[in-house]
Each structure stands twice: as C-alpha cells, then as structure tokens.
C-alpha cells in the first residue's frame, strides 16, 4: 500500500511540475467546450436566394416580396441574366436561384398555367432539400392568394384536413447545445485520459527512466495502478468541472440522477486509460504510441454518434460500435441528462463497459514486462 502511495506521489509531482502540460490538461478542454458547443447545428438558416425576374410584372414582384417577407431567406437581390445568377451560385454567394420566366403573368392569367424554375446548389443535400421545400410552400400559398385575387378560388379547399402536431420530448425548445455539451465533454475527457496514459509509460521507455522503475521493488500491478489512478482523478475532475460549466453557461439541465453520470464515468475512465496503457506497452516510441492512440480515438469519436446519428449508419458500422467505449458513454450521458433514464435503463451499457475495462487492463498488465530485452 505504501508503495502505491509513493508511486502516486511521484506521478502527481510529474504531472504538476510539467508547466507546459497543465494548461493543456485543464484550460484547453474548457475553452473547447465553451466554443464548440455552439458549433454543432444542422439548423438550416440563412438560405441565400437570388431572383432572376424576366417578367417584371405586378404578379412577379408580388411573389418576390412574399419570398422576402417569409423570413426563411436572405434575398441577395435580383439579377437580370441567368449567367450572372449562376455565377453567384458557383461563388457560393447564393444557394438558390428563383427564375421567373418572361410572360409569367400572362401565361398564368390567360393560359391558366405557368412554370417557375428553382435551382439549388445541392452539394449540401439537406440545405437544398429544405430550401426548395420552403420556397415551394411559399409559392403554393402565393398561388392560393392570387387565385383569390383574380376571383378564381380553389373549388375544394380544405375538405380533408390532417393536422400534424410535432411534439419534441425531452428538449422542447430543440436546444442543440443540451445535446452537444454532454457529448463534447465525453470526448474531451476521453482525449485527455487516453493520451496522457498512452504517452506515459512509453515516455519512460524512450527517456530511459523505465530502467529505474524496473529495478525497484514495485510490483507490476502496483506500477500500473499507480500510473492509472492520477489520471482517473483528473478525468473525473474534468467531468465535474465540465458539467458545472455546462450548467452555468449553457443551462444544461442537471437532474438528481446526475450521480449516474459520475458512476458511469468512474468505470468508463479505467477502460479509456487501459486502452492508452495497452498501446503504451506495445509501442517503443512516443510517436508510435501517439499515432496508434490517435488512430483508434478518431475512429471512436467520429463513429460515436456525437456528430451524426448512429442510427443513420449502415448496419455493419453500428455493429462496430459494440466495441466503441465513446459511443456507450455518449449514449448514456445523453440519456441520463436529457431523458432522465434510471440505472435500470442503462445497466446494459454499464456492465459492458465495466467488463471491457477489466479485460483491457488485464491485457495491459500481462503485456507490461519488467524485464527488458
């Protein structure tokens, strides 16, 4: 026991005496949380529309003013020619072009039918779909309006009417920060934990101080334990600190079952630290350790459902997530904090992560050799 305490003291001293690391461990995650939580929105706003009005009649101008008044679009003015409008679309100054052909009003009133052309920059598929969708609904209501205006109302208006009521549960204001803050927090805790532990042993190897440790009476288990415990504390501290910031700055709801998040964090960290440690025992240099850790972490993070929903991924990718610790924690922290899930609801994830943690750490201990070759 005493040996572990001595070991712990050495590790803590090493961490706190490295002045250039301290801000990276404690300040960088906070700044990132503050900045990045606002970044993750798919909300489509600011759709830039440019109008090519070749009709120039009262009707066409009325349509343009309706588009303007809808509030969905930023009107980038009118263009007299197709070519200059497409030029702006290519430059990225406009997302949608609305073309009103010549004789639009005449065709509509006399011929009973006229066409409009909507062209969208569809590289962002969602923006294009929603943007043309909004525009189409505005045009439809405009269509009804001018029918009335010209005294030809629809014959059958509203005979059947289905009212669709969207009810967003768990987050009625659709505040995406509530969704992102817990997720980003998980990522930051994971990054810090796994990199610190991943670099730790291999650093002693590379610098040569591992020799000194190998000749001490410290047992393998004590050694690993002493290496992991400090980062476990730091990880939990960051989790608490991040939640505090989330609650104070972003008003993320904190329920009474918040202890579940910490309980999960407490068993999640050994798994993450163990992964770092295992990498550390395999690699010879810090460079190798870092590349390996980076490789796995980027996969874990991008597949975790933080950015794009796991449900949209193909089946094989969802199966791959069975071994993704980050996905488990993000799932759990969101469920607990936003939906108020109880331990029974997340017990599956809890025991899986606990089990994975045990396996990884056993492997790390087995793979660490005191005898150098």
């Amino acid at each position: 026991m005493k040996i572990i305490l001595v070991m712990l003291r050495k590790e803590f001293l090493q961490i706190f005496r490295n002045r250039s690391m301290l801000p990276i461990i404690f300040v960088a995650p906070v700044i990132q949380l503050l900045i990045l939580a606002s970044a993750a929105t798919y909300e489509i706003k600011n759709i830039a529309v440019i109008v090519v009005d070749q009709d120039q009649t009262g009707t066409s101008r009325l349509l343009v003013s309706k588009m303007k008044a809808s509030g969905y679009f930023i009107m980038q003015g009118e263009s007299t020619s197709d070519a200059s409008a497409y030029r702006k679309l290519q430059d990225g100054q406009a997302d949608i072009i609305l073309e009103i052909p010549a004789h639009f009003e005449r065709d509509l009133v006399k011929g009973g039918k006229a066409d409009l052309l909507l062209s969208a920059n569809a590289i962002n598929n969602i923006k294009a779909t929603l943007g043309t969708g909004y525009a189409a609904s505005i045009i439809a209501s405009f269509n009804r309006q001018i029918r009335v205006q010209f005294g030809r109302p629809e014959m059958d208006s509203g005979q059947y009417y289905i009212k669709v009521l969207p009810i967003p549960w768990f987050n009625p204001t659709l505040n995406y920060r509530f969704f992102m803050v817990p997720g980003i927090l998980v990522i930051l805790v994971t990054l810090i934990g796994s990199f610190l532990s991943g670099m730790n042993i291999v650093r002693e190897k590379e610098i040569g101080t591992i020799e000194q440790l190998n000749v001490t009476p410290i047992r393998k288990l004590h050694f690993i334990f002493g290496k992991l415990l400090p980062f476990w504390f730091i990880g939990l501290f960051e989790l608490a600190f991040g939640l505090l910031i989330g609650a104070l700055v972003f008003k993320v709801p904190i329920h009474t079952n918040i202890w579940l998040v910490f309980a999960f964090g407490a068993i999640y960290l050994p798994l993450v630290l163990g992964i770092g440690l295992l990498i550390s025992t395999f690699a010879d240099t810090q460079q190798q350790a870092m590349f390996l850790a980076w490789f796995f972490l980027v996969i874990f993070i991008l597949m975790s459902g933080l950015f794009t929903a796991v449900e949209n991924m193909p089946g094989w990718a969802q199966k791959l997530n069975v071994i993704n610790p980050v996905a488990y924690f993000i799932e759990v922290i969101r469920r607990v904090m936003l939906k108020g899930s109880s331990f029974a609801d997340i017990s599956g994830q809890f025991f899986l992560v606990l089990g994975f943690g045990a396996i990884i750490n056993v492997l790390a201990v087995l793979n660490y050799r005191k005898v150098s070759n």
């Binding site: 250039s20 990276i24 461990i25 990132q32 970044a39 929105t41 909300e43 706003k45 290519q90 430059d91 509509l108 006229a114 052309l117 909507l118 062209s119 920059n121 569809a122 590289i123 598929n125 969602i126 779909t129 269509n143 029918r147 010209f150 059958d156 005979q159 009417y161 289905i162 009212k163 669709v164 009521l165 969207p166 009810i167 967003p168 549960w169 768990f170 987050n171 659709l174 509530f178 810090i192 990199f195 670099m199 690699a283 810090q286 460079q287 190798q288 870092m290 590349f291 980076w294 490789f295 972490l297 991008l302 950015f307 449900e311 991924m313 193909p314 939906k339 899930s341 109880s342 609801d345």
Partner: protein, 368 residues
C-alpha cells in the same frame, strides 16, 4: 546545399527505418476514409419508430404503410399507451412515435379533420427535426392526394433543378471534407513530433552544433513528410473518386497544386507546434486536443458554417481546413478554375508563410 541534402537524407532514414510508424501513416488514412466515408452520413434511413394507433381503420393503416414504405422509418414498436412510448424513449429503443387520434377515419370524413402527433426524441434536436420534417411531408402529400376535385385553374408549376449533386447524395457533402480532415491531421501530426523529439532525446544539441541554419533544419524536416503526404493525398483522392464516386469536374493539375499547398500548410503548422513545445507529449497534446475537435467542427466538414453563431464563423476563418474544403468542393464538384478559388488560395498561402516565419522565429539556437 550539400549539407542540406545530407540532412534531408538523414530525415528519410529516420522515417523509413521506423517500419511501424510508416505502416500506421499509410494504413491509417485508407482505413479511416473507408470507414467514415460509409458511416458518416446525415441521410435518414430506417429510423426506429413506434406507432400508436388506437383507431386501426383503413386510413391509418394505409398511412402507416406509406410511412414505413418510404424507407425512412421502420416500426419497432406497436404501442398501446403513452407510458409505453415514454419508457421506450428512456431505454433508447425508438427515435420517434407517431400517435393517431382515436377514430381517425371517422373524424376525417365526418368532421373534415383529424390529427396526428409526432413525438420525437428531441434530446437529439437535429435528428428530431429532420424526422419530423420527413414524416410531415409524407403525411401532407398523402392528404393532398386524397383531395377529390377538379384540377384548379391558374396553376403555378415548379421545376426544381439540383445542381452539382442531382441525386442529393450526402457523400458529396462529406467526402471532400473527410479528405481534408484526414490530410490535415495526418500531415500536421507527422511533423509536430519531429523537432520536439530531437529536443527530448538530446540529439538537438548535435543538430545545433552543425553548420545547418534553422531555416534549413525546418525545411529539411518538412521535405520528407511532404513526399509522404503527397502519396497519402493521392491515395485519398483516388479513393474518394473511385470508391465513393465523387466526380472530378475541374482541372486535375489545379487540384494537385492546391493539395500540395494545403499539405505544406498542414506540415508547417505541425512544425510550428513542434518548435514551440518542449516535449513530445506537449506537442502531441497540442496537435491532438488542439486540432482534432476544432477542425472537425469548425471547418464546415459536418456542420454548415453559415448556420453557426457569428462569433464562431469569425473563429472558423482561422481554420486552414475551412478554406481547403471550399477549394476542393469548388474544383471537384463545381468545376471551378483558378479564378474562382484564388482568394482561398491566397489565404492558405498567407497562413503557411505565417506558420513558417513563426516556427523559424521560435526555433531556439541555444540550449537552455
């Protein structure tokens, strides 16, 4: 000049004699682009829904079928109570619940209206709004197709044209960004360790005692990695085009030149990180914790920049990847020429020069 070549040769040996690192460097981008290219998507498919239909009449069954056959939704629960729905949400089993009002068909035909509740799991607001949008449009389309009557007079038709991405595939949105992300991170990471490593291992002293000037040391460190990154970039581009079907409409040489520029930007950023950090650990934390999340989130790779708050759009201007994503999308998808991307190119050039000047300034020729 000869000394410089010798130094570059030494750096090549460093890289090629570490087989494991080399394997990681080339294997990593390939695996990642394959994995993420398929897995990262915002196309909704098979969202898990619960249907609560206490009416069970002709109309609700037809509408349910219509929703399920759209490919967006799959029914995983036939709920009988709101309580059941709420507990499924908490267990994470469903993403949305569709609740038909009781006696739906009767109401619709006798009172002219009936209602449907779409209860979405808004703990993920992005998915929730997309699911609600899709379901609403399916239901509305169905309702309007049931309207009997005469074709109305004064009909405005709409022709839609989806430019650059007629099939509305999300790979067009994500693959160029993914290529940028991998190129940026791998390149910056490779160089971020080099100088810090010499410092930590003590071999820096030997370099400083040599007649090499700081500029040469920095250039010599960069050149071998430029070659490696160029190979990486080529592999990534080929995979983007042939595995994921992203077209190359523009000029291939322009694309190559822009890629080279971007690699140099990333490498010089890595060297800057390396020259300001005292140990490999610091360098690594800076390039990982500092670069990974901001590059993913603020480059426009996944989240559209113009939806973000203004202060984030300003910060995003500092992210080199943001500019390269614009360049690569314009060249590959829109067929833009140099006259369309010169502004972004100029910004990247300016950033690169700043990184290089700063690294030379920060490069200490004395040991402390």
């Amino acid at each position: 000049m000869r000394i410089f070549l010798v130094f570059v040769r030494k750096e090549f040996f460093h890289i090629f004699r570490d087989r494991r690192t080399l394997l990681i460097l080339f294997g990593m981008p390939v695996i990642q682009i394959l994995l993420f290219g398929f897995a990262i998507t915002n196309e909704i498919r098979n969202a898990r829904i619960a249907i609560m239909d206490n009416s069970r009449d002709e109309y609700t069954l037809k509408l349910s079928n219509k929703l399920l056959s759209s490919g967006y939704f799959q029914e995983v629960l036939n709920a009988s109570s709101l309580h059941e729905i709420s507990s499924s949400f908490r267990k994470g089993r469903i993403d949305m619940a569709i609740v038909f009002s009781p006696q739906f068909d009767y109401q619709l035909h006798h009172e002219g209206k009936a209602s449907i509740q779409l209860i979405a799991d808004a703990s993920d607001p992005n998915t929730a709004s997309t699911l609600i949008n899709y379901a609403t449009s399916i239901i509305n389309n169905d309702a309007s197709s049931h309207k009997p009557g005469i074709a109305p007079n004064m009909q405005i038709g709409i022709r839609e044209k989806m430019l650059y991405n007629p099939d509305l595939k999300s790979v067009y949105m994500f693959i160029p960004g993914l290529m940028t992300l991998i190129l940026m991170l791998v390149s910056a990471m490779m160089t971020s360790l080099t100088i810090a490593r010499e410092k930590e291992l003590g071999t820096m002293e030997i370099l400083l005692a040599s007649p090499l000037r700081p500029v040469m040391i920095i250039m010599g460190k960069g050149i071998p990695y430029l070659l490696l990154s160029a190979i990486n970039a080529t592999m990534i581009l080929l995979m983007g085009m042939f595995v994921f079907g992203v077209p190359l409409v523009g000029n291939v040489f322009l694309l190559g030149a822009e890629c080279t520029l971007f690699i140099i930007t990333a490498l010089s950023l890595g060297i800057l990180i390396s020259s300001v950090s005292s140990s490999q650990q610091t360098a690594m934390m800076l390039s990982m914790v500092g670069l990974l999340m901001p590059t993913v989130m603020l480059s426009g790779y996944i989240f559209p920049l113009d939806s973000m708050p203004v202060f984030l759009q300003v910060i995003a201007n500092l992210i080199p990847a943001k500019w390269f994503i614009i360049i690569i999308k314009n060249i590959m998808l829109k067929g833009a020429g140099f006259q369309d991307v010169w502004k972004q190119t100029l910004i990247l050039v300016a950033m690169t020069s700043a990184f290089i000047v700063l690294s030379i300034k920060n490069f200490k020729i004395r040991l402390n």
